[in-house]
């Protein structure tokens, strides 16, 4: 038996290799650098250099790409402008997320537990805290997650799709469990996320097996060919396709596959929530786009009911349940479910324009999400004795924030307005292009539902703005809130706020960049 070494074009994989290589180095740093403080600093610099460098490499590739792109690893991976656009987006979220991971309160406290292995409330935990331990593993974990997500946006093979899914999901499960405060909530969120995530991976894999069984291929191109050559409706193909799509809808967080979202969002350390909320949704949307356009385009008509039902259910449930939330992170979690619905609106009928509209939508949504959670890290409770505690996430605690800290509250208001899709913010342009895509394929009833849901959703975004700006600080509560100051978190807030405004007022350059990205190298669409 002879074994031929596969021809691998390494150059198109540069951004990916930088990130995954850096994550390997980062793991070594974990083992060999003893002092927590030095380790933290090394990890932070290493991560930032890797992420920014990878983003730079991706941009260079974008500029020098010959033709539409390159197929790597015998069709397992495709590097085209679409995948590069998503990779850059995920790298931006990764960079901002890493800054948040490294941010500390004024008292020098991280968002993460000092020792993940210690039981909450145990003497181990106290000891670890006193000795100043830090879980700097969060940096390599984040790098692996970013690498997995980048892979996820570029895969064109069902097996590799599954591998990439696991590569970015496993680190996230761990990250969610590492909160410093309210650790039981954090563990609960992580466990739910893990169990349901494992379940969804299994469904995805099962669906991939069906598709392989029916078409004899795991590559997207092979599946597409199998679908077009089959006559009539093949139950096996349809079942497989539905299961693959459902597996991805899980990661997007669409109803009825959303139940992990509120717990994971609430329990996770806020920097992780920010990163996860922005980047996972982007990666999963990118993967779903490619699966739909490159592999399952022939089932467009058969699968459209699924997108209609799931989109409407997500928008309605997300909006209605968010209306009654009193916990800020849970409210944003339900808002993210509603946004999953808005994203799926653009999938209705698989219009070509969705390929350029969705990267913009996810860019605007992700930036506002990162910014909003970064603001949350800055608003903290204070005990009666005056010690600063965890984040103040009950809605009522935000009353009068606009008077305490006008800039921070103003930035939060901007992010909320962007979520609500008010013009002159990025969220409006995002909604506009996404809904235009849907209308171009004739799905205007779906868009009508979407705008009604947007109007209702505005109510709970505005409620928070009312609390911040139009309500006074309750009597006797003047000292219950501490506005923290972390330069890194403030940087994230400032950068995202500026980008949300810029993308709202002069979206032209970014829109045209994504228009270039709206062509898939392989696939029926585009």
């Amino acid at each position: 038996m002879s074994f031929t070494t596969p021809e691998i074009a390494w150059a198109p994989l540069t951004p990916l290799l930088i990130v995954l290589g850096a994550s390997a180095v980062a793991i070594l740093v974990e083992s060999f650098v003893r002092s927590p403080e030095t380790r933290r600093r090394t990890q932070l610099v290493l991560s930032l250099v890797a992420l920014v460098g990878a983003a730079g490499a991706a941009v260079v590739q974008w500029a020098t790409l010959d033709g539409a792109g390159t197929v790597v690893l015998d069709g397992m991976l495709t590097v085209d402008r679409q995948s590069l656009a998503w990779q850059v987006l995920i790298l931006v979220f990764g960079t901002l997320g890493t800054l948040l991971f490294a941010s500390r309160t004024r008292a020098g406290e991280e968002a993460f537990t000092p020792l993940g292995a210690s039981a909450p409330g145990s003497s181990d935990e106290t000891l670890a805290r006193r000795k100043g331990l830090q879980v700097t593993e969060v940096f390599p974990l984040a790098l692996v997650a970013v690498g997995g997500m980048m892979l996820f946006t570029s895969v064109t093979d069902l097996i590799f799709l599954f591998v990439a899914l696991e590569v970015f999901s496993l680190p996230l499960y761990v990250l969610v469990a590492l909160a410093r405060r309210r650790r039981f909530l954090s563990h609960e969120g992580a466990l739910k996320y893990f169990l349901l995530g494992a379940f969804s991976s299994a469904i995805l894999l099962f669906g991939a097996a069906f598709l392989y069984g029916a078409t004899g291929s795991t590559s997207y191109a092979g599946v597409a060919a199998g679908i077009s050559s089959s006559t009539g409706t093949d139950a096996l193909i349809l079942a497989g396709a539905v299961m693959v799509v459902v597996g991805l809808l899980f990661k997007i967080g669409a109803v009825p596959f959303h139940s992990w979202t509120p717990d994971a969002y609430q329990g996770a350390p806020t920097p992780v929530t920010a990163f996860m909320g922005a980047a996972t949704k982007a990666a999963a949307t990118a993967a779903l786009l490619r699966v739909m356009y490159a592999a399952l385009y022939g089932l467009n008509w058969e699968l459209s009911w699924l997108f209609w039902v799931v989109a409407i259910a997500s928008m309605l449930l997300g909006t209605v349940v968010a209306l009654v939330q009193t916990e800020l992170k849970r409210m944003l979690a339900y808002s993210s479910i509603a946004h999953a619905g808005f994203i799926l609106v653009a999938f209705a009928g698989l219009p070509d324009t969705a390929l350029s509209a969705l990267p913009f939508y996810l860019a605007s949504y992700g930036l506002a999400t990162m910014g909003a959670f970064a603001v949350i890290t800055q608003v903290r409770e204070r005990s009666d004795e005056g010690t600063v505690l965890g984040e103040a996430t009950r809605l009522g605690q935000w009353a009068g924030l606009g008077k305490r800290s006008p800039w921070l509250a103003g930035a939060m208001a901007l992010f909320l307005l962007s979520f609500a899709g008010i013009p002159l913010t990025a969220g409006f342009v995002g909604k506009f292009v996404a809904f235009s895509a849907a209308i171009s394929s004739g799905a205007w009833p779906l868009v009508l539902v979407a705008v009604i849901a947007s109007a209702a959703a505005a109510f709970f975004y505005v409620r928070l703005i009312v609390l911040m700006f139009l309500t006074d600080v309750p009597e006797g509560q003047e000292d219950a809130i501490e506005i923290d100051y972390s330069p890194l978190a403030r940087t994230v807030v400032a950068v995202t706020a500026v980008l949300v405004l810029l993308l709202g007022i002069v979206p032209g350059p970014v829109l045209s960049a994504f228009e270039n990205a709206g062509v898939l190298l392989l696939g029926a669409g585009g």
Partner: protein, 498 residues
Amino acid sequence: MFPILTVMVALPALGAVLLWALPGGARARAREVALAVTAIELVLAVVLFAQFDMSAAGSFQFSETYAWIPQIGTSWALGVNGIGLLMIVLSALLTPLAILAGWWEDKDDSRRTHYLALILLSEAFMIGIFAARDVFLFYVLFEAMLIPLYFLIGSFGGAQRRYAAVKFLLYSLAGGLIMLVGVVALYFQGPGGDQAFLTDNLTGLDMSTTAERLIFLAFFLAFAIKAPMVPVHTWLPTVAENARPGTTALLVAVLDKIGTFGMLTLCVALFPEAAHWAAPVIILFAVISVIYGALLAIGQKDMLRLVAFTSVSHFGIMVLGIFAFTQTSVEGAAFYMFNHGLSTGALFFVVGFLIHRYGTADVTQYGGLQRVVPVLAGTFLVIGLSALALPGLSPFVSEIMVLVGAFSAAKVAVIVSAVGVVLAALYVLLTYQKVFTGPAPTGKRAKVRELTRRERIVLWPLIALMLLLGFLPGIAIDAVREPAHDIVATVSSQEAGA
């Protein structure tokens, strides 16, 4: 060419930024700064009016077009025809008066600065909307304007102001988002390309009847909420009652005109077939607004709510005029939009002055004021009479134009609406009677200040303008004649085709 319209949009916006940037110490001078900015704006508006070529009032003048987001086909395209011109003059006139009227409202410098900055920002949006020649630009400004207004209502005013602000926002947003569906759908009907949203490129499209009607409805709903028509008017009385009189004056006198303005320049101009199709039902709702608004106005104790309901009634007359589609009625409606701004703006200001004196808007708390403050009483009476369309004042001219013009098209509607005009006499005169006649107030209440010089500067120019246009309406009607003619011609060509 000097980009006067862009400057007029940018100037108040920059003024707002300047106010917010003022350091603590300089904020005591915020009023003067704001007044200066709006005064320059008024001068620019007068220049605009003087330079406007009345012989070509139907076409857009002072046009500017710059690419904004070519990827989605939208441009920064401004320009005014006669109707837009009148609306811009109205906005530029009322904003400084609103600032003057609220000169003493705030004790706190930074709070006042905030208020004035929001007023300036609203002015920038108003002028932008009246000058927009691009549907997307119009929409963006239309929605973005909600933010300063929301804070104007929610931060400054009466006890229920937060509730009022949220109600206002949700109503407007619901209408606006449905309009967004229409805007997007319109794009796919149009020619596409870098300037897909220019109104010129969207006029006279060959759409399927169903598409045209659905898009028309999406636009119309947003404008009906803004103009407040029954049954989507309920936010207006709540807002009027709770916001500051100055804010409400701007809101009702200028901002709500965006509703009727949009009906005229977008709904009817872009979708003539659908407008013609929907006209009977719209006229029905317009007549209901006229009568219902007037009846409710009679029943109000709160003067601010009363004025708000009179406006619901008056907006009904404007909508009737627009959708009757005769030369005289459309001209009258467009002219009425201007006159109603003068009359209602003055009415809200003068009610605000009364509230400033007595601390309440409850009409039963007043009485006998004409013996103590005759000038205030007389001024109030003149302004009130303008609202009931007394001959000699300009609202009369426009109201009679609408009713006479619409008669040939919708006889029953006009006859019923005429009852509304009679009811107007009732609510105006009853209010005057309760507030100003009867035994002179005694004790503390007798010490009421006469109309101050500042208050006269606010009210008397408005009255003078109404008198001028009452006797020489031609000055303004010249501006709306051609646009009205174009609109009527577009719609009647549909009629001939159908």
